[in-house]
Symmetry: C2
Subunit: 269 residues, 2 copies
């Protein structure tokens, strides 16, 4: 497998996203290596030694994706026995011309605490945990969004992703078997109807997920899953609650769709 | 403020990371817009209308960061009244030459459920929640990592980030006031010592965070915070537990440092 390195003076998340987006276009497997926090010349020399050793071992030049702005460190990385892709360099000078402003590269500004979104995000994580799975229905005035749906339709991971990535306070409330006889919005939800967003899922997928938790139970039976989903989707339509089917989507995709539909404001970009 | 658009046929996370990394080099504020899931010509025309309307309103051409591979959609976006930055195009043909393989662009492969990491990540989120804050000390055999530290030193957000982003199962265990008289590793942790990773934090920052939760309490007092941190750091050193100080770091940075130090394998890149 061709080795690929993602390197930066910070988390290397940007280099990873950059390299991964490109490599995913190729029908091949790669051997991934991340080297983060290369903040000094000494660490750059260490990274170079590692890259060169792997180059020698594999017999193929590694692909190196980096975002260094410090010229001294850049020169060391650029001198590795590797193919170097620096995605900043192609865009900085056109942007400088367009903006008529000179770039002021600082070390790893993105994904760092200096983005000022830290407290929002930690508060939002605490909020999501305290208001997970209907555990506290009296706090919904503070929610930015309230996710609803049957058990195991994706509410909790989505709430946590909204909190961690964007500082959005997401509560979530499950509709359970007990609610199903005559499913309607409870008063504590009705009061905050504008914040409600529904999730649904295909019955087959729900059965699989539930069966992994409680095999051969009523909870995971085809009949029960179908009934719960039918009732919940009927409610969404009756109450005009926006909803999406999470079956074929990752947590990033569900979140992106929710943000697009609701226009919720993020506390972090 | 100059408008900036991040557009793609998927979540637009790659376009956001790409644009944000570039724009953060400039000492200016931008007005951010994301348009995700532009999967059809009709949606591309809608996006174009939106971009052109904002161009007209602001009197300045918006900056548009995109990653489209579909030529029809690309042509529509490229024809907007805007400055277009397409970060794929600069790198795809050099990579094709280097790899001697032709790129096979598929629509939004990254950040989608097709990355095959979905189940790992959801399992890891469930694991993190079930093993948060010492709530279950009998499950540590299944942990990839066990974060330890005093209350409010960053354990929970870090556990969740490890789970959501990388599918890594992280338990976390708090050392509390009751443990402090003669702090040592409990047996259920000693058994899994290789998995333990410590967090610490500056006393002033800890006091702030705790004071927001319980103002003027013993819990948030300078004396208590200093004592707990002193004891915990002494334990880390005595037991040779790797640890980092989370004070000046975002959850991404803490996670990246932990991954670098432990060499933990990710289930998602």
């Amino acid at each position: 497998m061709r080795p690929a390195f993602y390197i930066s003076d910070g988390t290397a998340i940007t280099s990873e996203v950059f390299g991964h987006a490109l490599l995913s276009l190729f029908p091949m497997e790669f051997e991934h290596h991340t080297i983060s926090f290369v903040e000094t010349v000494a660490k750059a020399e260490e990274a170079k030694a590692k890259i060169n050793a792997i180059s020698k071992r594999s017999g193929e030049k590694p692909l190196v994706f980096h975002t260094f702005v410090n010229p001294e460190i850049r020169a060391i990385i650029d001198s590795c026995d590797a193919i170097i892709y620096n995605f900043l360099e192609h865009f900085v000078s056109p942007l400088e011309k367009e903006l008529n402003v000179q770039a002021k590269p600082k070390a790893h500004r993105t994904h760092s605490i200096h983005e000022n979104s830290y407290d929002y995000r930690i508060d939002a994580v605490n909020y999501a945990l305290a208001n997970d799975d209907g555990s506290n229905v009296t706090n919904y005035a503070d929610a930015d969004i309230i996710l609803v749906g049957v058990s195991r339709s994706g509410k909790t991971p989505t709430s946590l992703y909204l909190a961690l990535q964007y500082g959005i306070k997401a509560a979530n409330y499950p509709f359970t078997d007990d609610d199903m006889d005559e499913l309607k919005l409870p008063n504590f939800l009705k009061q905050h109807k504008k914040k409600i967003f529904g999730l649904t899922i295909d019955p087959e997928r729900l059965m699989d997920i539930r069966d992994n938790r409680r095999a051969n139970s009523k909870y995971s039976s085809a009949r029960q899953c179908r009934m719960e989903l039918r009732e919940v989707e009927k409610l969404y339509k009756k109450e005009k609650i926006p909803f999406i089917n999470s079956t074929k989507f990752s947590v990033e995709e569900i979140t992106a769709k929710i943000l697009a539909e609701t226009g919720l404001r993020r506390h972090k970009y």
